[in-house]
Amino acid sequence: MTAHAPHRETAPSPEPPRPYRFPPILREELPNGLRILMAVRREAPLMTVRLLVHSGADHDPVDAPGIAVFTAEMLEEGAGERGSMEIAEHVAELGASLYCGADWDGSVVSLDTLGRQLDPALGLAVDLVLRPAFPDHELERMRGERLTAIRQQKDDPAIVAGHLFNRFVFGRTPYGNPSMGTEESVSAFTRNDVASFYARHYAPNNTSILVTGDVDPQRAQERIARAFGGWERRDRAVHEPPRAGEREPARIFLVDRPSSVQSEIRIGHVGVPRSSEDYFPLLVMNSVLGGVFTSRLNLNLRERHAYTYGVRSSFSFRRFAGPFVVSTAVRNEVTPEAIREVLNELRAIREGELTEQELSVAKSYLEGVFPATVQTAHDLAGRLQEMDLYGLPHDYFDQYRERIAAVGAAEVRAVAQRVLDPDAVVIVVVGKARDVHDPLRALEHPVGLYDLEGNVLPR
């Protein structure tokens, strides 16, 4: 090789870092208990206005899943003076995108649009949240669309794998059900079910409004107080936390999909709640294990063995303990080998050494990437939502990098040992049973055969 200029041979050193601060968070509370959180960012002309009700699909009755999502979606089917189509026209006219939906921890009405549309956006939001009509004919239409969508999900092996993983890990608890509901539950929803979920949970003292981006906070606050001040406080529902099932020895749930050319694989178990003291060490641990491209799992399964286009591990940090899961899709022939490599990596991170380089790459990634994840008004609203839902302290995002920096190797190993349990994983494989069933038996874990609905199949 010819010698190159010195600046070519080694990576350049960084300049001094430029200061970064999360925008100041303005908080207010109206007399009726509605909390207001605002973060201003005026460099772009965009804004997010989001109503966040602190009850999500985790409040679904175990035998009637989907009501939180269905209720939130029904909000835009008629509210105030407007019918469903008039709402859609109005949203498009504002150049807005409107999302009405629910995740596990909250129900959300969120509008992304230009900051200059603050008044009409708030006007629409107040109608949707305070004056929904739940018209019968729209409910029937929505039911039809939803039932079709639920059936259609069975076409997608990745969705099937996700749903059945949740079912086998969480059993008959809300987290074990699909948050969109089932054919059975959605078929039975009545207007009264929707109206009573709404009445129980949509109250100012169970709701926050998040406003981010290109807004004048003074003006926004006045408008919010005027629009939502008359909303009446209600007694708040007491919530029974869903309980996860007991862990059992590792087993394989093979879900037969005869047309598959890849196995969709999910491996994991119950994780930890968002409030866990292990949160920061777990972020670092997961980054090393399977959180980024250069993680152990991805370098092993993709870059060394070329089993897959990608593999990742993740924790769903929710109000209660959500899943820890490793997800990948591999060609049929290498299904057992891929599972074995995943289990090996889970064991290695509990029992083996963590190199200095791995630890420092993971930490500097998590510290450094934060500003890039909050570039937009929509991103900022997501962070305020996290802060509000989980009761994080007001300086949380300013302390974030220090908290990551403080994580040590011993702590990472300790949380891996405490939280990961490769001997008690649920392994879901959605794939072609004829090709993969027998090879899977070589893994020495019991293998059960199921259909796409999760029913046991005769062998």
Binding site: P14, Y309, R331, V369, F370
Partner: protein, 418 residues
């Protein structure tokens, strides 16, 4: 928007967009080569090559590109379309120099690092990508089939960027070397930076890292002409899905032509949001479609609008298609109301505002114009042309474009039991 454009002596074009809204910088490098520059027997090669470019260069080890960027808190990736291949990273701004070092190393010092083993690994990874996104995904093979019937086999939009399994198998190390030497040249690339930097300093760093890379022979210019078919092209395939789907491809002028913007607005009028024509008629009122969508791709050689409608249970795709055509006919005959145009324009305007909001997507948008239109500054007049678009013009484009002899139609049908 601050914009500075210049060219290095080796032909590398540079776009600088200084903005100190956050201590971040987006580096966005486009090579003007995509699947349309592939030769028959090597479909999928431009994309396979993109994977190879992450597997190291002379001073950067295998996967070290990823590790360097992630170790400073950067996000990165690359992507391949018919017309171009892009590589990008968003970094904390004090690491700008690292990003330039990495990107210039693989532009100037790539060949010494390639090995047969790396090619074999990435070939298998790409085959898994094809299985994941095309073969194992619901409706995953529809796009490939739609392109196959929409363009004659000599025309390179005939195949998708992922390519065929056989052609991926056939790719050799010689192909990698030749492709690199032909296309991966400073004089066939545009580097766009958006974010927190001082332009004089950035320019000096770009000269330092990219200036020494020698230019190559002018890459072959793209010559293929799309020969229009005389009649509608039709086909149907079966797939392990439950609901039939109708795919339509309408030929449009390419990105950059004034009628492309009218075509984009037409896609909004047809099926963006529930208040749009097809959504309202097929999903909301008649309830014969589960979902509809339409979009226009930013393609350079010829334009395309794709319309997709998924049938509800027990709805015949012929009936769905007929209802779709009735709506299109109504639009052409009755025209577009001013209120509809306002909705389409406002949605498009907010859409672009979102693209400009973060540095990464902004740099990519600037590069779209620098690469396809010759100047990043063409973005501004492009955006204002949306505001000037009149309903009559969009209706006229609809009339010219939404014709049977200008389209292809693909049905995806559920496999029957047994």
């Amino acid at each position: 928007m601050q914009l500075e454009q210049f060219r290095l002596d080796n032909g590398l074009r540079v776009v600088l967009n200084e903005d100190h809204a956050a201590p971040l910088v987006a580096i966005n490098l486009w090579y003007h080569v995509g699947s349309k520059n592939e030769r028959p027997g090597r479909t999928g090669f431009a994309h396979l090559f993109e994977h190879m470019l992450f597997s190291g260069s002379e001073h950067v080890g295998n996967n070290e590109h990823f590790r360097w960027v992630q170790s400073v808190g950067g996000i990165l990736n690359g992507s391949t379309t018919f017309d171009r291949t892009n590589y990008y990273e968003t970094l904390p701004s004090h690491h700008l120099e690292l990003g330039l070092w990495l990107e210039s190393d693989r532009m100037g010092f790539f060949l010494p690092a390639i090995t047969q083993e790396k090619l074999d690994i990435q070939r298998d990874v790409v085959k898994e990508e094809r299985r994941l996104r095309y073969e194992n995904a619901p409706y995953g093979l529809a796009l490939e089939e739609l392109l196959r019937i929409s363009y004659a086999s000599e025309y390179p939009y005939h195949w998708p960027t992922i390519g065929s399994m056989d052609d991926l198998s056939a790719a050799t190390l010689e192909d990698v070397k030749e492709f690199f030497a032909t296309w991966y040249l400073p004089n066939n690339a545009v580097l766009a930076l958006s974010g927190d930097f001082e332009p004089r300093r950035a320019r000096a760093l770009i000269e330092k890292y990219f200036g020494e890379i020698p230019p190559g022979a002018e890459p072959p210019s793209f010559r293929a002409e799309r020969a229009p078919f005389r009649s509608e092209q039709r086909d149907s395939i079966t797939s392990p899905v439950q609901l039939p789907r109708v795919y339509r491809l309408y030929h449009l002028p390419p990105f950059g032509h004034p009628d492309w913007v009218a075509g984009d607005l037409l896609a909004y009028v047809l099926s963006v949001g529930r208040a749009s024509r097809l959504d309202r008629a097929l999903v909301y009122e008649k309830r014969i479609a589960q979902e509809v969508g339409s979009f226009v791709l930013q393609t350079e050689a010829t334009g395309m609008m794709i319309v997709i409608a998924t049938a509800r249970e027990r709805v015949d795709p012929a009936a769905l298609e007929e209802a779709m055509d009735a709506e299109i006919e109504r639009l052409v005959v009755d025209g577009i109301a001013e209120a509809e145009m306002v909705r389409a324009r406002n949605q498009a305007e907010t859409g672009y505002a979102h693209e400009l909001e973060s540095f990464g997507s902004r740099a990519d948008l600037l590069n779209t114009f620098a690469t396809f239109e010759g100047a990043a500054s063409a973005l501004d007049p492009f955006l204002s042309s949306y505001g000037r678009s009149r309903p009559d013009r969009v209706r006229a484009v609809a009339e010219a474009v939404l014709r049977p002899d200008n389209r292809s139609t693909l049905w995806v049908l559920p496999e029957t039991e047994g």
